[in-house]
């Protein structure tokens, strides 16, 4: 029954998406200020569709929770002996389930938009919902026609095959849902941008409607990428935190576009400039989300993540991708000329700095995009290549370095026009910090160029992030401004972590006999013992390493080499010692013929700052949303009070004078 309810809910939701699309399109035919009688169904359709899609997802969750082995998806991805948490997270640890999550979040965000957004003109709202319905319809079709999650087996399986052990981790509970919510949140930004473009409503009040969606999606993407990076770092056992893996790039590209969009939307809301640019970024950001989905889900990539390999599905998503992106850019090309020019600004102004950084972000996006797609392109000509850090790091840095410099100065500039002379002190300070830090670090040794630049920029950015608060009364600074300060400071913190990891990491790889001692950096580690251990669905050998710094009190680390039995697979469980100034990362390998064990230990100074920085950036985004909501609520309350008072006065004036007692 569960599967049938879920499937029926999905089909109904798809039908409602058609209704939403058609009804929304009718809103476009209404004259200004009027309501088309057929346009009133779009909002309820979106809300009910959200309920149905979420219901379908809950049904699948339920099927995984009780391990209903008559459902093909459960049988091939779950196991009755698995811990409950991983049974549940296994729901979206596979192709069909994750696409259902995608669609569920898409419908949910459409429903929220339809249910709560009352500020937009009816025509714009109708067009927005029509576009949202059109996008949703494509993905319903994809789900129902080529990857039905509720497919039954003719004969129920006796036992499930289990879940890829790499995915049996708390990381899976957090990382994909947040990333997907972020990806899909950008679909609302896309629909709103198309709606505004179609009805020619690209103005500050539209930007204020768009902003919370962009901010929300961006916060979720930031958080998802941060969580994913840490997960890959400790789970894969390779000691790296970013591999320029195509799937990682697939999440980075929408983030870059969303970052640019978020800043450009702020300019549109505050200054009524960058109108067409904002629309274009809105289209670009969601295009990158869909491209990401295509790359991950089509199986065109060699990647740890891309475990769904099915060319037919790939062709389906590619078709959707071409339809939506092609359609959106066609409409953009046809309509962009009709959007009138926004307000002007000088080169040295806050808008100028934001535009510069928008362009830099887009350039980095182009670098990442080309690097990710290049192997696919060459493969068409039978040349197999892979593209890695030697390409991405320097090519990205060429645009990232000027971006960070302008980012330090930008928030200090005034809107519209400013004189660089006014900021002489701040400019000198930033330059002195960059040069001073690089000189100081170079004094202590030879380090690679990029980490060195990163350290200098991180120092300057950390200080510059707080400069906008200079000379202001801290208690009166708006919450949204604190958000910006925090997010920019987070970038500095993260950059510092990356640079330290790049410049000062130390590594020791050795074959150690039990009782033997080795040295890495200031730490010495002794292999105390190697013992077999077992978990609920794996067996492992566990090495016990006694780690001490400068001969101090030893701490025990226990890295494992695990063997899962369903499905059979070996993984390496790293062990981490986290200190305030860095992490010690230990992995155990094979046993050499002479009985010694391979042990690999890294000392990574300040590596944790990478993820602390990511969290700070996300927190900054949350503060920005909170600040905007607070201002909005205040405004609504004030206008409601004003209306009440006017009504009172009118009532008093109209009423017959009450005789005094």
């Amino acid at each position: 029954m569960i599967a049938e309810i879920g499937l029926a809910a999905l089909w109904l939701a798809a039908a409602l998406a058609v209704l939403q699309m058609v009804s929304g399109a009718f809103a476009l035919r209404a004259a200004e200020g009027e309501v088309n009688p057929l346009a009133i169904y779009a909002r309820p359709a979106a809300v009910v569709q959200a309920v149905l899609a979420v219901l379908a997802f809950i049904m699948l969750l339920w099927a995984f929770a009780i391990t209903d082995l008559s459902i093909k998806l459960v049988a091939s991805n779950s196991h009755s002996m698995k811990p409950m948490l991983f049974k549940l997270t296994g729901t979206w640890g596979n192709h069909e389930g994750s696409m259902l999550l995608w669609v569920g979040v898409l419908a949910l965000s459409g429903g929220l938009l339809a249910g709560f957004e009352k500020r937009l003109p009816a025509r714009t709202m109708g067009a927005t919902l029509a576009v949202q319905g059109f996008v949703a319809l494509g993905f319903y079709a994809f789900l129902l026609l080529s990857s039905n999650p509720f497919e039954r087996l003719p004969v129920p399986a006796a036992e499930g095959t289990g879940l890829n052990p790499l995915l049996q981790d708390i990381g899976l509970a957090i990382h994909p849902p947040t990333l997907y919510a972020g990806y899909v949140g950008l679909s609302v930004a896309f629909s709103l941008a198309m709606g505004a473009l179609l009805t020619n409503q690209v103005n500050p009040s539209f930007a204020r409607v768009l902003r919370p969606w962009v901010l929300g999606a961006w916060v979720l993407l930031t958080f998802g990428i941060t969580a994913g990076s840490y997960w890959a770092y400790y789970e894969l056992g390779w000691g790296g935190w970013w591999f320029w893996d195509p799937v990682e790039n697939a999440s980075l590209m929408p983030w870059l576009a969303a970052t640019a969009l978020m800043h450009s939307v702020s300019v549109l809301a505050a200054r009524d400039a960058l109108r067409t640019w904002t629309i274009m970024l809105g289209v670009l950001a969601f295009s990158m989300s869909m491209l990401g989905t295509f790359l991950v889900r089509s199986g065109v990539l060699t990647s740890v993540h891309a475990f769904a390999v099915d060319p037919e599905r790939g062709a389906f998503i590619l078709g959707l991708l071409l339809l939506y992106i092609g359609g959106a850019f066609t409409i953009f090309a046809l309509r962009a000329g009709a959007v009138s020019e926004g307000k002007r600004f000088a080169v040295t102004s806050r808008e100028g700095a934001l535009v510069f950084n928008n362009v830099m972000l887009s350039a980095i996006l182009a670098i990442v995009l080309l690097g990710t797609l290049y192997p696919l392109l060459t493969e068409a000509f039978d040349v197999r290549v892979s593209v890695g850090p030697p390409y991405f790091n320097p090519a990205g840095a060429i645009f990232a370095v000027p971006m960070f410099l302008v980012m330090a100065v930008g928030p200090l500039l005034r809107w519209k026009e400013d004189k660089p002379k006014r900021l002489q002190f701040e400019l000198m300070l930033i330059a002195a910090l960059v040069i001073g830090t690089i000189a100081l670090v170079s004094f202590f040794g030879q380090f690679p160029l990029l980490p060195l630049l990163g350290l200098g920029l991180a120092a300057a950015l950390a200080v510059a992030a707080f400069l906008p608060l200079k000379g202001r009364k801290l208690s009166r600074v708006p919450v949204a401004t604190w958000g910006m300060v925090l997010a920019h400071f987070g970038v500095a913190v993260s950059l510092f972590g990356m640079a330290c990891e790049g410049a000062f990491s130390q590594e020791r790889l050795a074959a150690v006999a039990p009782g033997g001692t080795e040295q890495v950096g200031d730490f010495s580690f002794t292999l105390e013992s190697v013992t077999p251990v077992a978990g609920p669905n794996w067996t492992a050998i566990e090495a016990r390493l006694a780690i001490s710094k400068d001969g101090g009190e030893p701490v025990i680390l226990a890295p494992q080499a695990r063997n899962f039995w369903s499905p059979p697979m070996a993984t390496s469980e790293s062990a981490l010692l986290t200190r305030w100034d860095g992490q010690l990362y230990a992995v155990v390998g094979n046993q050499a013929e002479d009985g010694r064990w391979q042990i690999r230990v890294w000392w990574k100074p300040f590596v944790t700052f990478i993820w602390y920085g990511g969290l700070l950036i996300a927190l900054g985004g949350i503060l920005a949303i909170a600040g905007r909501v607070k201002v909005d609520v205040k405004r609504r309350v004030a206008s409601a009070k004003g209306a009440e008072r006017r009504a009172d006065i009118e009532a008093l004036g109209a009423a017959a004078p009450v005789p005094a007692e």
Binding site: T302, G371, V383, S386, M569, A592
Partner: protein
């Protein structure tokens, strides 16, 4: 500056930056992309010393030798011909790295003709296979790779 002009200037600057990024990407991709070599290709037309490439083939039977330090292994990778390329790797070996099995080594050719691998990709499990060896048994891997890598420069 007129309003229309400012938009035009902005568009031109943005286009220049993006095209610049594209050209830069194209140029550095030509230099930095990691080409895939079979043992016979590496023997007949070796890549430049120190250039990052990938070498894919089969681990020759009886060729895996662990050095006295316990973490460095030397082995030979063979393809469809008699050519065999010596490979040296320091690190923790993938679990399914065994003789007569497919492997892709990332690294570069050293001046002594030994391929210094920085990373080894072996068949990990049925879910994660190096793309070049996807769906292959042991012997097929090299053959398949040969068919799909014509036109290597």
């Amino acid at each position: 500056m007129k309003a229309k002009h400012q938009r035009l200037v902005l568009v031109i600057i943005a286009l220049l930056a993006i095209v610049g990024a594209g050209l830069l990407a194209a140029w550095s991709l030509r230099n930095q992309a990691n080409y895939f070599y079979l043992p016979e290709q590496m023997a007949s037309d070796p890549p430049e010393i120190g250039q990052a490439v990938r070498l894919g083939g089969m681990v020759q039977a009886g060729s895996i030798k662990t050095m006295p330090d316990g973490v460095t292994v030397n082995f030979m990778v063979t393809g469809n011909t008699a050519d065999a390329i010596p490979v040296r790797y320091s690190g923790i070996l993938p679990d399914l790295f065994v003789e007569n099995s497919g492997v892709v080594a990332e690294g570069s050719l050293g001046p002594d003709g030994v391929f210094i691998a920085t990373n080894l990709l072996a068949k990990h499990d049925e879910n994660y296979v190096p793309k070049e060896l996807e769906g292959m048994g042991t012997d097929q891997a090299a053959k398949m790779a040969a068919e799909t890598t014509v036109g290597l420069k």
